[in-house]
C-alpha cells in the first residue's frame, strides 16, 4: 500500500542516528519538564524554540515531538508520587495513582502509567496513519453548537461521577464555572470580575488552580500529620513492574481509552485534560467495581494515561492536515514550523512528505524510547517517597510557587495560589470532589463562548443546539451520563431485594 511505502520512508528518516538522538534527548527533557508543576509541554517546546533554528526542519520537529510526548509521560509522575499534576492532562492520574502510592503500590502505578501511555501513544499513531484525513474532515463538523454540547457532556459526566454525591459534584463544577468567567469576554470585549487588576484580564490560569488545590491542598491536609511525624514514608521498594492481575484489569480500559483520547485530541481546543477525564468516567461507569475507583483502582490510572497520550497524538492531526493547531503545544510547534519556512496544512504531506512521514515514524520510535527510558527512571523517582515528609513537603511547596511563577511571570498568581490552596483544603474537608472544579475552569470559558457564538450565528434561535446529528448524539450521551448512575443504583437495589427474599 501507498501509505506503508511512505511510512517506511518515514522510518528511514526517524531512525537516522542523529534524529534518534534528538528524539531521546527531547523525550528526557520533556519528561523532566512535565514533572515540574506548572511547566507543561507548551513551555518545554517554547524553551526549545530558539535551539531548533539551527537544526534542520526534520530534526527540529522530531525533537519538539519528543518533548511533547516526554511531558505527557512525565506529567503523571508527580501526580502519582506527590499528588501534584504537572499539567492538566495528568490530573486524572491523581485520582487512583496517588492512593496507590500511599498504599505502597507506587511501583505498579508508575509502571502502569508508562505502559498505558506507551500503548495509548502507539495505538493512536497507528490509527493516525490510516485515518488522519477522514478524522480531520469529521472534526470540521464541530461548530460552536457541537463544542458546547461536547463540553456540557464532559462536565455533566465528570460532575455526576461522584457517586451518591451528585450535589457536591455540581457544587464543585459551579465554583469552577464561576472562576472561569474572570477576564475579558471575547464576544463583547468587556472585562469581568477583574477589579482593575491587569493580570486578571486574561483570566485565571487553570494551572494555578490545579497546583493550588492539589499541591497546596495536600500540604495543608497533611500538615498535622507531617508535624507530628505520623505521615508514612516508604523505605523498601520493589521492582517497577505490574502484576498479571493488574494487567488483566487494565487491558481493556487501555485499549478502549486510546481511540477515545485520540478523537477528543483531534478536536481543536478540547485537549488532553478532557480526554483523560472522559476516559476515567467511562471506565468507572463500565467497571464491575466502581466503588474501588478513587481508592487505588489500577484501571482508573491506566485509562486516563492511555487517553492523554492518545490525545497528544490526535492533537497533531488538525495541525498537520489543516494547519490549525489543536492545542497550546501544537500552536507553539506550528509557530516553529512557520519560522522554519514550512507551511503546515493540507499541502504539507505533498510538499514535504519526507518531513511529514518522518514525523509520524518518529512517534513510534519516540513512544518506544520513552517507555524504555521511563521504567528505569521511575525506579529512581519512586525514591522520592523515601524522603522524610518534613523535608519533602517544603520542597513541594517551593516547587508549587516556582511553577506558578513560571506560568506567566506574574506575582498576582501567588495570591491566587494561596487563596485557591485554602479553598482546596476546605473542599477536601467538606468532601467535595475537585475534578469537576478543574474541568469546569478549563472548559468553562470556551463553553460559554461556544454558546454565545452559536446564538450569534443562529440569530438567537436555540434550535441550533439540536441542529446536527453530532449534537443530538452528544445530548443523548449527556442525559445518559446523568441518569445512568441512578438507574444502576435502582437495578442493584432491586436485585438486592430479590436476593434477600
Amino acid at each position: 500500500m501507498d501509505v506503508l511505502a511512505y511510512l517506511l520512508k518515514g522510518f528511514s528518516v526517524a531512525l537516522q542516528p542523529i534524529n534518534l538522538m534528538w528524539v531521546t534527548l527531547g523525550g528526557i527533557l520533556g519528561t523532566i519538564v512535565g514533572m515540574l508543576p506548572g511547566l507543561g509541554p507548551a513551555t518545554g517546546v517554547a524553551v526549545l524554540l530558539p535551539m531548533t533554528f539551527t537544526m534542520g526542519p526534520e530534526a527540529a520537529l522530531i525533537t519538539m515531538c519528543g518533548v511533547y510526548y516526554g511531558a505527557m509521560f512525565g506529567g503523571s509522575r508527580s501526580s502519582i508520587l506527590i499528588n501534584t499534576p504537572g499539567d492538566g492532562a495528568a490530573l486524572a492520574a491523581t485520582f487512583d495513582g496517588y492512593p496507590m502510592a500511599q498504599q505502597g503500590r507506587a511501583e505498579s502505578a508508575l509502571a502502569m502509567s508508562a505502559i498505558a501511555s506507551f500503548i495509548g501513544g502507539i495505538l493512536s499513531t497507528i490509527v493516525m496513519v490510516f485515518v488522519a484525513q477522514p478524522v480531520a474532515k469529521f472534526a470540521l463538523k464541530f461548530g460552536p453548537a457541537e463544542y458546547f454540547m461536547l463540553m456540557v457532556f464532559a462536565l455533566s459526566a465528570t460532575a455526576s461521577m461522584t457517586k451518591g454525591n451528585l450535589t457536591k459534584g455540581f457544587i464543585s463544577m459551579l465554583i469552577g464555572l464561576m472562576i472561569s468567567t474572570v477576564g475579558i469576554d471575547a464576544q463583547s470585549g468587556i472585562s469581568r470580575f477583574t477589579f482593575g487588576i491587569l493580570e486578571l484580564q486574561t483570566g485565571i490560569d487553570f494551572l494555578v488552580v490545579i497546583i493550588a488545590v492539589y499541591a497546596l491542598g495536600e500540604v495543608f491536609k497533611s500538615f498535622k500529620m507531617i508535624k507530628e511525624g505520623k505521615k508514612k514514608m516508604q523505605t523498601k521498594f520493589g521492582k517497577i513492574w505490574i502484576t498479571k492481575e493488574e494487567w488483566k484489569r487494565s487491558k481493556w480500559p487501555i485499549l478502549r481509552s486510546a481511540p477515545l483520547g485520540f478523537f477528543i485530541g483531534a478536536l481543536p481546543g478540547a485537549g488532553g485534560t478532557m480526554a483523560s477525564l472522559m476516559a476515567y468516567n467511562n471506565e468507572k461507569q463500565l467497571s464491575k467495581h466502581p466503588e474501588e475507583f478513587g481508592k487505588g483502582a489500577i484501571e482508573g490510572l491506566a485509562a486516563p494515561e492511555s487517553a492523554n497520550n492518545a490525545a497528544s497524538v490526535g492533537a497533531l492531526i488538525p495541525m498537520l492536515t489543516l494547519g490549525v493547531p489543536g492545542s497550546g503545544t501544537t500552536a507553539v510547534m506550528m509557530g516553529a514550523l512557520l519560522m522554519l519556512g514550512l507551511q503546515p496544512g493540507p499541502m504539507l504531506f505533498q510538499q514535504h512528505p519526507k518531513l511529514a512521514w518522518g514525523l509520524i515514524a518518529s512517534m513510534f520510535v519516540g513512544n518506544m524510547i520513552l517507555a524504555i527510558v521511563n521504567i528505569p527512571l521511575a525506579g529512581l523517582l519512586v525514591r522520592v517517597l523515601a524522603i522524610p515528609p518534613k523535608i519533602l513537603y517544603p520542597i513541594v511547596l517551593g516547587l508549587a510557587f516556582v511553577g506558578t511563577y513560571a506560568i506567566s511571570n506574574s506575582v498576582i498568581d501567588f495570591y491566587l495560589l494561596v487563596i485557591f490552596g485554602v479553598m482546596g483544603y476546605f473542599m477536601s474537608k467538606a468532601k467535595i470532589p475537585t475534578a469537576p472544579l478543574i474541568l469546569a475552569i478549563i472548559v468553562g470559558n470556551s463553553m460559554e463562548q461556544s454558546f454565545r457564538q452559536a446564538i450569534t450565528i443562529s440569530d438567537g434561535d436555540y434550535s441550533i443546539f439540536f441542529g446536527s446529528k453530532v449534537s443530538i448524539v452528544l445530548l443523548i450521551l449527556t442525559i445518559v451520563s446523568v441518569v445512568y448512575p441512578f438507574v444502576k443504583e435502582r437495578i442493584k437495589g432491586k436485585k438486592n431485594i430479590v436476593s434477600a427474599n
Binding site: T43, G143, P144, P346
Partner: protein, 344 residues
C-alpha cells in the same frame, strides 16, 4: 549573580558620571568631530538588554522580537546580549504597565503592534502608545478576508452588497476578541465601502481553531492575517476575496489576491509591528538603538528573515513612526466610537 550585577551597574554608574563630567553639558556638540571625547554613546550599552514579547511564546510578537534579537546577534550589531522574555497578559497591557515601572530605563525594548492602540481605545488599559518611546516601525503584514472555496461570495463586493441588504446575513469570524484587530480591520474596509450601520454586523470571536470554523462552514467570512491562511489558500480549501495592503504583497498565490482598492473600495489596513522603549528612555539609548535598527534593516539576514516569515518591510524612523501612530490611532478611534466601544 546579584553581586555581579551590582558591580556591573556600579561600574556603569561610575562611567556615566565620569562621562557627564567630561562632556559637561555640551551634549549638543558631541558630534562635532571631537572623537577623543567620550560620549555616553561609547559606553552604552554595557549590560545585557531586556527584549520583551508582550505575549506568549510562539505568537506574532514573540516571533518578531526573537527574530530581531537573533539578527542583531548574528550580525554582531548589538555589542551586548539581547535575551527575550515573555510578559503576556491583557493583550500586551500587562507589559505596558511594567514599562511604566521602568520609566527612564535604558535597557528594555519591547515589540508592539496595532493592539497597543486598540487596548487603550477600548478601555482595556489607560496606558497608551504615548506612555512609551517609539523607536522604529519594522514590518507590516496585512489583513485578508477569506471564504470557503464553495462559498457563494466571489469578491469582497459580494459580501458588502449582502451586508448592505441585511447586516445579519453574513457572519464574520476572527481570532481576536470583539473590538480588537480582526474585527476592526473588517469594519475599516466595510466603512470605506460605504456601510453605515457597522454596529449591526455580527462578528464572532473564536480564540481557538477559527480556520476550522470557516472550513466547517460554521461562519461565512474569516477576517485574518495573510500569513495565517497561506497554506489553506494554496491548497484551494479557502478562497481569498481581498487583501488590505495598498499594493499586492507576497509571492505565488498571495500575489494573486486583489487588493480592496483594485475592487473599488478605498480602504487599507496595515498591521504594523514596531519597537518601543520605556517612557522617557534616555536620549543616548534612543540614539544608539535608532542607529542600530537602521543598520539592521539593511542587512541581508534581516531581509531573509522577512521573506521567510512573509513580512512586508515597513521600516520607519522614530519621528515618522510617531506621526503614523497618531494617524492610525485616529482611524481606530472613529471605528470604535461608531460601534459604541470607545472608552474615554
Amino acid at each position: 549573580m546579584s553581586l555581579k550585577k551590582k558591580i556591573l551597574s556600579g561600574l556603569l554608574a561610575v562611567s556615566l558620571i565620569g562621562t557627564t563630567i567630561l562632556t559637561g553639558c555640551s551634549t549638543k556638540d558631541a558630534n562635532s568631530g571631537n572623537t577623543a571625547k567620550a560620549s555616553e554613546n561609547d559606553n552604552y550599552p554595557k549590560k545585557a538588554m531586556e527584549f520583551i514579547a508582550p505575549g506568549g511564546a510562539g505568537g506574532g510578537w514573540d516571533l518578531t522580537i526573537r527574530t530581531v534579537s537573533k539578527v542583531l546577534q548574528d550580525t554582531k550589531l548589538s555589542p551586548v546580549p539581547t535575551p527575550v522574555t515573555n510578559r503576556p497578559g491583557g493583550g500586551g497591557s500587562v507589559n505596558l504597565a511594567y514599562m511604566q515601572e521602568k520609566k527612564g530605563s535604558d535597557n528594555i525594548i519591547s515589540v508592539y503592534s496595532s493592539p497597543l492602540l486598540l487596548t487603550n481605545l477600548n478601555g482595556t488599559t489607560e496606558l497608551s502608545y504615548k506612555d512609551t518611546t517609539p523607536l522604529a516601525r519594522l514590518i507590516a503584514d496585512y489583513a485578508v478576508f477569506v471564504v470557503r472555496s464553495d462559498s457563494k461570495y466571489k469578491t469582497i463586493n459580494d459580501v458588502i452588497d449582502a451586508l448592505k441588504k441585511d447586516p445579519k446575513s453574513v457572519k464574520i469570524g476572527g481570532a481576536s476578541s470583539v473590538g480588537s484587530m480582526d474585527h476592526i480591520q473588517f469594519l475599516m474596509i466595510a466603512k470605506a465601502a460605504g456601510i453605515t450601520n457597522l454596529k449591526d454586523i455580527d462578528y464572532i470571536s473564536f480564540q481557538e481553531g477559527v480556520n476550522s470554523q470557516l472550513l466547517g462552514g460554521h461562519i461565512d467570512v474569516l477576517s485574518t492575517g495573510l500569513s495565517e491562511v497561506t497554506g489553506l489558500i494554496e491548497s484551494g480549501d479557502m478562497r481569498a476575496l481581498a487583501q488590505t495592503a495598498d499594493h499586492r504583497v507576497g509571492t505565488g498565490v498571495l500575489a494573486e489576491i486583489p487588493t480592496c482598492k483594485e475592487q473599488g473600495i478605498d480602504g487599507t489596513f496595515v498591521n504594523w509591528r514596531g519597537l518601543f522603549g520605556p517612557p522617557e528612555m534616555p536620549e543616548y539609548a534612543v540614539k544608539f538603538w535608532a542607529e542600530t535598527i537602521d543598520k539592521m534593516v539593511q542587512t541581508p539576514e534581516w531581509k531573509k528573515a522577512c521573506e521567510r516569515n512573509g513580512w512586508d518591510n515597513a521600516y520607519q524612523k522614530a519621528d515618522e513612526f510617531t506621526v503614523f501612530l497618531e494617524e492610525v490611532n485616529k482611524g481606530y478611534e472613529e471605528i470604535l466610537s461608531e460601534i459604541g466601544m470607545l472608552k474615554k
